[in-house]
């Protein structure tokens, strides 16, 4: 009989991208050293474009110098995946979890992230599906509603998923999202007539779907995120 698995969830509100990267790096080391349990960051970013390890910056359609004019930052990262946009009203989850303790490889992990988002979308009557081969992510018809980009380091995950609640979709016009041309980007707001609750509730629902998909026995919600972030800064 396996021992109970706990997921610790940090609700962080809006976090600058670089700050969240530094926090994740620290948590990955701590998770690798077994100092912390599986941890999940639930947050949003200010307008930010990010690139993956393959540095596919040909998919950024405006000059970098134009980005400050539209109030956005650009960051190169070590995650998998192509270019994407993060911004207000897009729910981001960064699981920092040990894949070895559940015997998962990259494929199982990503498929479970997709299932989490599909399950979440169904709460609002939205029939989402996983992408076809080479189109990892979550789609409603031919419209992309959820993106995935992950890094696995000694079996510990970082980065994660981004689900569009109601972001300003115009930001996506400046990129070839995820390197897939001719496919639209969509959001929960666009795909459902259901009245959406507050974003705090939406984040909690998405987290619960992920916790269920990964068979966690317990979810512990960590309070006072500003204290957590300040502590990280001081160290």
């Amino acid at each position: 009989m396996r021992s109970p698995r706990t997921l610790e969830v940090w609700k962080l509100g809006t976090v600058n991208y670089l700050k969240s990267l530094k926090l994740q790096e620290k948590l990955v080391s701590e998770r690798k050293a077994h100092h912390i349990p599986d941890t999940l960051l639930s947050l949003q970013h200010p307008p930010t474009y990010t690139l993956g390890k393959r540095r596919t910056d040909h998919n950024l359609l405006i000059p970098e110098s134009e980005l400050t004019k539209i109030g956005a930052e650009l960051h190169y990262t070590q995650r998998g995946g192509d270019i994407t946009f993060h911004g207000p009203h897009q729910a981001i989850l960064y699981p920092i979890i040990s894949l070895r303790s559940i015997g998962f490889g990259a494929r199982n992990y990503v498929e479970t992230l997709e299932r989490s988002m599909i399950e979440f979308a169904s709460i609002y009557g939205v029939k989402a599906r996983a992408g076809n081969k080479c189109e990892t992510g979550v789609w409603v018809g031919d419209r992309k509603i959820g993106a995935i980009g992950v890094r696995i380091s000694s079996g510990i995950t970082s980065h994660g998923l981004a689900f569009n609640i109601d972001p300003d979709l115009k930001y996506f016009e400046h990129i070839v999202p995820c390197g897939i041309a001719d496919k639209e980007v969509t959001s929960l707001r666009r795909e459902t007539d259901t009245l959406l609750p507050t974003e705090e509730v939406i984040h909690e629902q998405l987290v619960s779907c992920l916790a269920k998909a990964f068979s966690y026995d317990d979810v512990v919600w960590k309070e006072d995120p500003s204290v957590i972030l300040d502590t990280q800064d001081k160290e």
Binding site: R54, G81, I102, G103, A106, R107, E111, G137, R151, S154
Partner: protein, 165 residues
């Protein structure tokens, strides 16, 4: 909780898995773990293999590893003449929008890197033990090879790891 325990024990009885992992649902790919663990190689618990021939050790990732990764679309490898350390990362592969670090099973100096992987990263999937080799290393501590797993041990390790979910 009780419902999940019932479902899980029923699934075990029926030899099914509740996860969507292909490798669990397909008995073929389970036996693939047995049939494609090669004799004569040593294995790390991070799923890399080492072939030691004379003063050269060739390193790559196993059939089990490539199956769990999915289709590899990008490989990042170091330059020749850089060094590797046991259990430290020397490169990465990308599959299904995930970059996974590759760890070296041994320490030493890289004498050759498989440049074919830049153009054809899929060789790791189609030929993990032959054309999909990643680096050739001059081992600095041959004793490190002793602490790696043999084929039988590695097969059992894969079995136990897959059963964990």
């Amino acid at each position: 909780m009780a419902l999940r325990m019932w479902a899980s024990s029923t699934a075990n009885a029926l030899k099914l898995s509740s996860s969507v992992s292909k490798s669990h649902l397909s008995p073929f790919s389970f036996s693939r773990c047995f049939s494609t663990v090669l004799e004569g190689l040593k294995y790390a618990n991070s799923h890399e293999w080492v072939k030691h021939e004379g003063s050269v050790a060739t390193i790559g990732i196993t059939a089990h590893a490539q199956d769990h990764l999915g289709e590899v679309v990008f490989v990042e490898l170091p330059e020749d003449n850089t060094s590797v350390s046991k259990e430290k990362s020397f490169g990465a592969v990308e599959s299904v929008k995930a970059t996974s670090e590759i760890l070296s099973p041994i320490s030493g100096e890289i004498i050759e890197v498989n440049k074919k992987l830049t153009e054809s990263p899929g060789l790791i999937n189609s030929s993990p033990y032959e054309d999909g080799w990643m680096i050739k290393v001059k081992p600095s501590s041959p004793a490190e090879l002793e602490s790696l797993m043999g084929p039988k041990e590695y097969t059992k390790f894969c079995e136990e790891e897959d059963a964990a979910h």
